[in-house]
Amino acid sequence: MNQARRYLPLAGVLAVVIGAQILASATGKAFYLTQLTMAAYYCLLIIGLCVLMGYAGQISIGHAGFFAIGGYLSSALTSHDFSAHAGTLFMRTLDRAGLLLHHQSLYGESLLSFQPWLAFAIAVAVAILIAFLLGIPVLKLKGHYLAMATLGFGIIIYRIVLAAEFFGEADGISEVPPFILLPGLSVSGDFAARVQNYYIAWGLLLAGMLLLLNLINSRTGRALRAIHGSEEAAEAIGVNTARAKLYTFVLSAAFAAVAGSFLAHFNGGIGPSEASVMKSVRYVAIVAVGGMANLWGAMAMGILLNFMSLRGMFGSYDDAVFGAILILIMLFAPQGILSLFPGKVFGTRTRAGK
């Protein structure tokens, strides 16, 4: 079996992750860790999208929408005051189960919100449900038509978060509380917890990589690549192509929602730009730069480009840079930027061999 070969690169990345943290802390540049943490969360969405686009061959220009569903629902449920509904049976039951959080506002009013774990579960479940309901009709479409339909979905989510008071309209939601994963381990923007958060984000990303690497090397992964290779053949051979595409779509939406939820807690808030279509285009561009059917490429580019963007290296031309990247990559390196280098450092095309 080639299991060791599959996991070795993950161990290598983990070593680099630890090394980077030690180096950054030792040289007094710990502020880099903040952007590396955020980049890791965006990257979680990107690797999910990579499996959908590169392996199953289905495009989505609406994944910022799923990211926003995760981030906004987590934020709204944990930071809004639901004490007006405290008397309802539903809220009383949740309260008795210890799933609600009683806290006080700056002015001493008592507030009632959802526990972050519950909010997180609801947010991801809603994203999964919406992905299901959306996926069933739109995944019947192919190529440009699928792109248009997912784009339409992304626009709808963007307009909803901009318009709904519940989601803070143009201001978004701020003062999102920390997400206490375990006692002493919480997702928050607290400077003291920077290192801890760096490892939470990277742990989550590497766990996601592990799951997806397993998936693409499994029977299901082979079926997904077959759909990409020839949908008619896959169907004739007994692959339920509609279901395989739908599950992959839902899976990638779940990755996006998890990423959105964690990042919202880390940033302590979320704004409508996270739901914008340009964000979705950016994710597609990064998957393309990474080489489409190349999880490692998607991850490497996801970290690099997001880090550069978050450090402000592209200035006010941020979105333009990603548009330009998309055009250039399609023209000159449709197999991804890494294909331009001989030797294939990241050559991880899955092989059935040995």
Partner: protein, 254 residues
Amino acid sequence: MLELHTVHKYFGGLHAVDGISFSVPQGAIKAVIGPNGAGKTTLFNLIAGVLGPTTGRITFKGRQIQGLKPHRIAALGMSRTFQNIKLCHGMTALENVMLGRHIRSRAGFLAGMLNLPFTWQEEKAIRRRAMELLELLEIAEFADSEATSLAFGQQRAVEMARALATEPELLLLDEPAAGLNIYETAEVARLITRIRDMGITVLLVEHDMSLVMDISDEIVVLSFGAKIAEDRPEAIQKNQEVIRIYLGEAEETA
């Protein structure tokens, strides 16, 4: 094994398949022939579930299958190859054949993601069986080559191995000799008889008369969507109607 009962298919005003009935007995090699545009491929697509018949019944192993999706029909034990070979690009020959084991294995999304131990055994068995089939079709040396980069005849063999990997009871071959020279055609003929000898019923659509006459047990002749003859090869060769259609066609196109 397979029975068609007055199957009709209209494409708008075009009557592509006109009330065709015939049956394919178990263990036989049956061929469907006819001039271009006779409706052979449409008929094939109706059987494999790519298209649904306008009216009529198709039963497979006593079960009605018209209107079922191709993947459901495949799961019932019917497998096919394509006239214009459809191998999955970006996958090796071996992977293409392994894909054929899809319906004979069960690791799903979650099991795959979690890399559960039972999937290891399953993958091993899938790979072993796929390799055996490549050996059976004498193309094992190309196992790790990109399938779509192989020579035409080899691609045909990979596609056939993939179809066999599903362990079909009925194998549909859509013009298996198309684009092959006479040596390769003879090779394909040998292969098809071997497949039949393994106990698999074969239904083929074919243009190449030599292939059809040599190996078929029974032949159905189509013209303009209708069945005009169904008989043993020797009788078909003497059938005046069939000769008229084929020679007439030849004269017109000459």
